[in-house]
Subunit: 228 residues, 2 copies
């Protein structure tokens, strides 16, 4: 079985010119993960009207060492002001550029149960440029009902929706027993990233990424450090 992290010898050609070449290769897994977390805090801080933020404050919210935050950021430019901190709004757009996720991305949500409705009506995805463009369900009695701005459609429309809206991300908010079959359909339709809210272990081809939400695992981890 192939290691999913295996490098296949395909070096990406240099993109834009000078700047892209300077920050040339892709970020390491760790840096990308931390950058994403900084972005979460910054996005929320911006919402709350905060204008500047120090590496120490970012550290308090992300639990990442403040020296490391400064080091992560300084690798891409001198974004901060000594004695003051970082401008929240400017840093948000810098990190979005670094993560190359500054644009809008369409996602399809599968499952219109309680969880699906909670996701569709929250703005946790919208705040980061993800737009739910379709909500699908297998339950005929739900088809046609609306959640927010969307109308629930039948899962049979999956392939058409994915193609029409150029969707690369699918969110699975369905029972574990139904997850694998729907994952297969998502893969068949061309989705490359699956966000799995069920507890099922999904088998997918190597070019598809599955991210499984596991709050209980996160709790176990937190509990360990509380108990010891």
């Amino acid at each position: 079985m192939a290691n999913p992290e295996m490098i296949g010898g395909s070096l990406t050609a240099t993109r834009d010119g000078d700047i892209a070449a300077a920050a040339a290769d892709r970020l390491s897994l760790g840096v990308a993960a931390r950058m994403s977390r900084y972005l979460q805090v910054l996005t929320q801080a911006k919402k709350m009207g905060k204008e500047t933020i120090s590496s120490q404050e970012l550290s308090d919210y992300t639990h990442v060492n403040s020296t490391q935050i400064r080091r992560d950021l300084s690798g891409f430019g001198k974004f901060g002001k000594r004695g003051v901190g970082y401008n929240v709004e400017a840093l948000v757009s810098q990190i979005r550029k670094i993560l190359r996720t500054a644009g809008q991305h369409n996602i399809v949500l599968i499952g219109a149960g309680h969880l699906g409705q909670a996701i569709a009506s929250s703005d946790i995805f919208a705040d980061h440029g993800f737009k739910v463009v379709a909500i699908l369900d297998a339950d005929a009695s739900k088809i046609g009902a609306s959640i927010g701005a969307q109308i629930i459609r039948h899962v049979d429309e999956l392939s058409a929706v994915v193609e029409d809206e150029e969707i690369v991300v699918g969110v699975l908010a369905v029972p574990g027993a139904a997850a694998q079959a729907l994952a297969d359909q998502l893969v068949g339709a061309g989705v490359k990233i699956i966000f799995n809210y069920s507890d099922a272990l999904l088998g997918v081809p190597p070019d598809v990424t599955v991210h499984t939400s596991s709050p209980a695992v996160d709790l176990l981890y937190a509990l360990y450090f509380y108990l010891t």
Copy 2:
């Protein structure tokens, strides 16, 4: 490192070094995080009736290098059988012991909206020994309704519930605007770990841990590696 022998009893002996010595075999952050992830996959594999699992299979699901998995596990004992793999059920209980989270833990769920109902009716927490022993909401019209085996109670009962059930974990499934006030109440009631499903940045005392669910951040991270 200084002599690890503890001096007994002194109330002032609370420096980091002493704590580290007292909990000498505390796992590193990385090991504890990976162990939790192995546990998630194993729990699910067990559910599916799988009897043994190889380090390579665990690697495929967790994206952790298989050598590292074997190394993490062999630090605590020889759990595997050469040529065969690990017994799923035995490994689950070994890791639970290692993480010291083999017991049952009571949690309180705040918020009986769509998200709260989704959480209460799923078994993602139950599978890992977490039991929702109370569901609270501020909305008077919801009080008294039942979700699964639980009846929705008013948030005013929070302190009493936390004390009666010896709860250390609180799950916040409420709108961002309400989150900080409820976090304050949880802290006041003695809860030490808060699982935050809202996007609010929560301020809590240093002895309380906040874990914020951020699916959009996870998606950004996955998207980065898809786009590059």
